[in-house]
Amino acid sequence: MTNLSKNNKMKICPNCGVELDKSMNFCPLCGEAVMDGNNENIEYIRLRKQKQNEVLSNPYQKLSSKQKRKLFWEISAIVLVSGIIITLMIDLIQGGGVSWSKYSMMVIAVLFANISVFCFWLKRINLLIIGSLFSTSLLFILLDIFNHNIGWGIELGIPLLFFVYLIVYTLLLLIRRTGERELNLLTYSLIATGLLCVCIEGVISLYINHVFKLHWSLIVIACIVPVSSLLLYIQYRLKKGTDLKRFFHI
C-alpha cells in the first residue's frame, strides 16, 4: 500500500514507513521530522529520497573498504615513486652520481612496502606483521651495507626489531582475544613494556659484551610488577560491586 493510495488523514513517516498520529511532528521511532498535510508530505518524501540517492551516488562512498585501501595504495605509489625520481634527479644533477639519494630511496621503498602490506593484508594480521618485519629488516641490512658493513644490522637492529614486533603482536592479540579495555589495556601494555626492556638490554648486552646480563631492565620489571598486580587486582577483585559469586561462578 503506497502513501498515495492512503486516505488523506493517514500520516506516514517518510523514513521508516510507520503510521503516525496526526498530532505527531516527529516520528517517535526514527526521529524523522514530518510535515503536515499529505500532499506536502509526498513532495517531502520525494525530495528526501532524491537527497538520499545523491548521497549514495557519491563515487567515493560507493567504494568498499578494500577498494578504498587500493585507492590509497595507488595514490601512495604515485607520491612515493615521484619522491624517488625527484631525489634521484637532484642527486644526479648535484654530484653526477648516486650518493645521498640512496638513503631516501631506500626509506621510501620500505615505506611503500609497509603501506602495501597494510593495504592488502589488513585482515591477515600474521602476513601483515611478517611482511612489515621483513621489509624493515631489509632496510636495516641495507643501511648497514651502505655504512661500510659494520654488522650492527643483523646482530643488533634485526633482533631488536624482531622483539618489538613480537611483543606488540602478542599484546594486540591478547587485547583482541580478551576483549577487555581500559585497565586491562594499561596493565598489558605495562607488562609488554617491561618485557621489551628486558629484550632490549639482553640484545644490547649480547652485542656489546657477548654475554647475556641484565641490570636496568630488572629495575623496570621490579617497578612494573607491583603496579600491574595492583591494576589486575582492581580489574578483577573490585569489578562491579565486588560480586565475586557471579564473577567466579563455576
Binding site: V18, M24, S64, F248
Partner: protein, 422 residues
C-alpha cells in the same frame, strides 16, 4: 539485580560469535497495514515488565560467561533491513525492529531459541492487536503482562532434565559441505520464498509424511544433486555423508515452559557410499531417522553428552579464555563439520482468527551460517503462506534455484512475493 549462568546450548555461542556469524536470528510479522507506531509503542511498554529474564547483558566471568540483568527498556529501533547484527557488549541480547508494515524481533541464541523468541513476539502482537481494538478470546494462551512470572520460564531445562550416567553420543564422521566460494563482505544475503501451505501439505501427504519431513528430504535430495555435480576433486571420498541438522523443540517432548534455549537437533543423513538415492528413498529414510532420533531416550543421551561435559571438574575449573578457545574448536569439529545444512522449521503459527486479518505472514530468518556451512534455511507458516528464508554467504544461489525448480516440477507455485489473499 539478578544474574544467571548461560544454559547448556548457549554456552558455546560466546566463543564462536563474530560479526559475520553473530548467532542472532530474526522473527518478523508482516502486517496487512503499516504499523501504527503509537499503539505499538504502548504495546511494547505493557510487555516491559513481563520478560525480565530477557533484559540481560552477556558478561565475562573468570570461568564462564553469565547473563546479568539490566534495568533497560526493550530497544525499539527503525529497521534498516540489516539482518541479524551482532549485539555489542553494551546492548541487551534482543532488539525490536519496526519498518513500514513489518514488526521484527532479533534475539541472540545466547538468550533463547526460536520458540522463546516467538512467545515474546506473540505477546507483543497480541498487545498491539488489543491496542487496535481487536478482541482476543480469553482462552487464548500467551504470556499476559499481568500474570506472575514463573520460575519455570527462566529455568535451564537442560539441567533440569539431565540424567546422570547415560552413555555419551558417538562422534559422527565429517560430512559434505557446499563447495562454493564466499561472497565478499558483507556476506549475508537473505532471500525469502513463498509457497502455499496446503499445496506442500498435499505433496507431503502423498508421501505419507509431515511437511517438515518433506522439506528436509528435499534439502537432502538437492544437496545430493549438488554433490553429484561437483568436479571429482571436491567430491572427496571422506565426505560422502550428507546430513541435515534439524532443530527440534524439546518442549514438545518434556513438559518445560522455559523461555530460554531448550532445543536439540536430529541429523537425518544419507550415505553416498551406498550409491545414489532416489527422492522416495530419501523420504523414507528421513521419516524413520527423525522419529528414531526424536525418541525421548535418545534425546536424553544427547542432553547427557552436552550437559555432562560442562559438569566435568576439569572443564569447570578451566579459565574462560582457554575454555573459549577449546569451545571454538569443538564448535567446528563436533558441530559444523558433521552436517551439510541446517533447516529450522518453526511450524505453523497459531493465532486467534480475530488477529488473522491483521497479519499477512511471518518470516523466520535463521542465524547467518558460518563459513563452513555457507547456507541455512528457516521455515515458518501462517495461514496458507509457507515462507522459506535462505541465509546465504556464498556467491552462488544454486541451492535456492534448485528449491524453486523442485517445487515447480511438483506443480507448486513458488513466489518471491507473498501470495495475496483472495
Amino acid at each position: 539485580m539478578f544474574w544467571y549462568p548461560l544454559d547448556n546450548a548457549a554456552k558455546i555461542y560466546p566463543a564462536t560469535i563474530s560479526n559475520e556469524s553473530p548467532a542472532v536470528f530474526r522473527l518478523s510479522a508482516i502486517l496487512a497495514n503499516p504499523v501504527k507506531i503509537k499503539s505499538f509503542l504502548k504495546a511494547v511498554s505493557k510487555a516491559q515488565k513481563r520478560f525480565p529474564y530477557f533484559k540481560v547483558q552477556l558478561k565475562k566471568g573468570f570461568f564462564w560467561y553469565y547473563l546479568e540483568h539490566k534495568p533497560f527498556r526493550f530497544p525499539v529501533e527503525a529497521d534498516r533491513a540489516e539482518f541479524c547484527r551482532k549485539f555489542s557488549n553494551a546492548e541487551l541480547l534482543m532488539r525490536i525492529l519496526v519498518r513500514e508494515n513489518q514488526i521484527s524481533v532479533e534475539f541472540s541464541h545466547v538468550l533463547t531459541d526460536g520458540v522463546g523468541a516467538f512467545e515474546f513476539l506473540k505477546t507483543i502482537l497480541v498487545l498491539y492487536s488489543l491496542e487496535l481494538g481487536v478482541q482476543i478470546p480469553l482462552d487464548f494462551e500467551y504470556l499476559k503482562p499481568g500474570d506472575p512470572i514463573q520460575e519455570v520460564e527462566y529455568q535451564d531445562s537442560y539441567l533440569h532434565y539431565f540424567k546422570e550416567e547415560i552413555p555419551p553420543m558417538v562422534k559422527r564422521s565429517k560430512s559434505f559441505h557446499l563447495p562454493w566460494p564466499l561472497k565478499s563482505l558483507p556476506r549475508l544475503r537473505v532471500k525469502n520464498f513463498f509457497v502455499s501451505v496446503d499445496e506442500v501439505k498435499n505433496l507431503a501427504a502423498d508421501k505419507a509424511v509431515s511437511i517438515n519431513d518433506y522439506l528436509v528430504s528435499v534439502y537432502l535430495y538437492l544437496l545430493q544433486e549438488i554433490y553429484e555435480e561437483c568436479k571429482i576433486p571436491k567430491r572427496s571420498k571422506k565426505f560422502k555423508h550428507i546430513r541435515i541438522q534439524v532443530p527440534i523443540n524439546l518442549r514438545n517432548i518434556f513438559p518445560s515452559k522455559t523461555m530460554r534455549n531448550f532445543s536439540l537437533f536430529v541429523m537425518p543423513e544419507i550415505d553416498l557410499r551406498l550409491g545414489h538415492y532416489s527422492f522416495d528413498e530419501i523420504i523414507k529414510t528421513v521419516y524413520h531417522q527423525i522419529r528414531l532420533e526424536s525418541d525421548e531416550k535418545l534425546i536424553n543421551k544427547n542432553i547427557s553428552r552436552n550437559v555432562g561435559s560442562e559438569k566435568k571438574l576439569y572443564v569447570k575449573s578451566m579459565p574462560l579464555f582457554l575454555k573459549s578457545f577449546i569451545l571454538k574448536m569443538i564448535y567446528y569439529s563436533l558441530g559444523t563439520k558433521q552436517y551439510s545444512g541446517v533447516i529450522t522449521n518453526l511450524g505453523r503459527v497459531d493465532l486467534p482468527s480475530e488477529m488473522a486479518g491483521l497479519i499477512d505472514h511471518f518470516i523466520f530468518t535463521p542465524p547467518p551460517p558460518n563459513k563452513m556451512l555457507k547456507v541455512c534455511c528457516g521455515i515458518i507458516g501462517f495461514g496458507d503462506q509457507l515462507v522459506l528464508s535462505f541465509g546465504n554467504i556464498t556467491k552462488s544461489t544454486k541451492l535456492e534455484e534448485k528449491f524453486i525448480q523442485f517445487f515447480k516440477e511438483q506443480g507448486v507455485q513458488v513466489s518471491d512475493e507473498p501470495v495475496k489473499k483472495q
